[in-house]
Symmetry: C2
Subunit: 207 residues, 2 copies
């Protein structure tokens, strides 16, 4: 498999973790988003949305990180990224989407660029925007992680799709200096994940 | 089942369509987001993220519209919201997430409120923001819908999860006066969906 990705892209980071958890080797093609590499005509032929990641498996190209995680789980079921029971799967997907739909889309590079270049916000206003959406999401997530179904990880005692989403969001939030003091459960789970090599070797600093 | 929802919330609209497609009766609890009904302590106990929709099934409450669609499909498989083959499922989920992760989160009510109340943008700047993200997403989607796997609907000749996402986004875009002239395939699929009663009776104007 070939992964078109960016080093600091959270969505790419999610897929790297999943590929590592499943011990799937992949060839990496790194795009420099700050230089607009994803906007090239060549890459538009790979992914019309001109976003990373995109995963090439044989003659097929898949886009959207969460769709890729589901695909990897369906085609390489061990170890699973989702539990077996529908209610548990819904909980794991719900946590994943709280991050991938409610936090990350508001704080990714293209949005921060637009705040700066089109709305001419200064850095402190951009930081306030970034922090606001992380805190909105993490406040809810911290409560959800108080449910009994939480264990050493977001759901039970093995990593799931939810942890593949949580870790990149935490790493990104730390980079933007978000104070995580109110989120001990999130921090604890992040630390548990980072003790696993599949997470560690997916970290941006190790690309 | 009981659905906590808002009439014009696209994410609620997705779930209404799915429930109708599967002929599942539900009790509706409508929250007025403009009056902050989702911010009440009572609703925070239903959904810590204080967002709609939330679906109560027996003693369990599910949040996040896309997790709810997957849950409904797993627990009530007929008619399916996803095809059977992993590559096709990935395509349908990819289209769904292009809308639910790349367009909708940037243009929903809480974001438009923040642009107005915190960033003090005027209406024309808010409209420009809204239109920008719809066009970014729809440009890519229109290309994806040129693939052979597209039929009368986003994927083949029966509605899927992708159509449950497409229709609310089109209805929302029309309300915000986005010119859809460059997206004939999107418009065609939207019209095909709206000829189906499951979509029609989920429309905000019929709540």
């Amino acid at each position: 498999m070939k992964l078109y990705e960016a080093v600091r892209s959270s969505a790419s980071f999610r897929v790297r973790i999943a590929l590592n958890l499943k011990s799937l080797p992949y060839e990496s093609v790194v795009l420099d988003l700050r230089k607009g590499a994803h906007r090239s005509p060549d890459y538009a032929r790979v992914n019309p949305a001109q976003a990373v990641p995109a995963l090439v498996d044989g003659s097929h190209t898949l886009a959207q990180s969460m769709a890729i995680l589901e695909y990897l789980d369906e085609t390489h079921p061990r170890p699973p990224l989702l539990p077996a029971a529908p209610l548990e799967r819904a909980r794991v997907r719900g946590i994943s989407q709280l991050i991938s739909c409610d936090i990350h889309p508001l704080d990714n590079l293209r949005v921060l660029f637009r705040l700066e270049k089109e709305l001419h916000l200064d850095q402190s206003a951009i930081d306030a925007w970034y922090h606001h959406w992380v805190h909105e999401g993490f406040r809810a997530l911290e409560q959800i992680l108080a449910e009994p179904a939480t264990g050493e990880f977001c759901h039970g005692d093995a990593p799931t799709m939810a942890d593949c989403c949580l870790v990149p969001q935490v790493v990104n939030a730390v980079r933007f200096k978000v104070d995580l003091g109110s989120y001990p459960r999130i921090v604890h789970i992040h630390e548990a994940c980072m003790r696993i090599e599949a997470f560690g070797k997916a970290h941006p600093d190790r690309q």
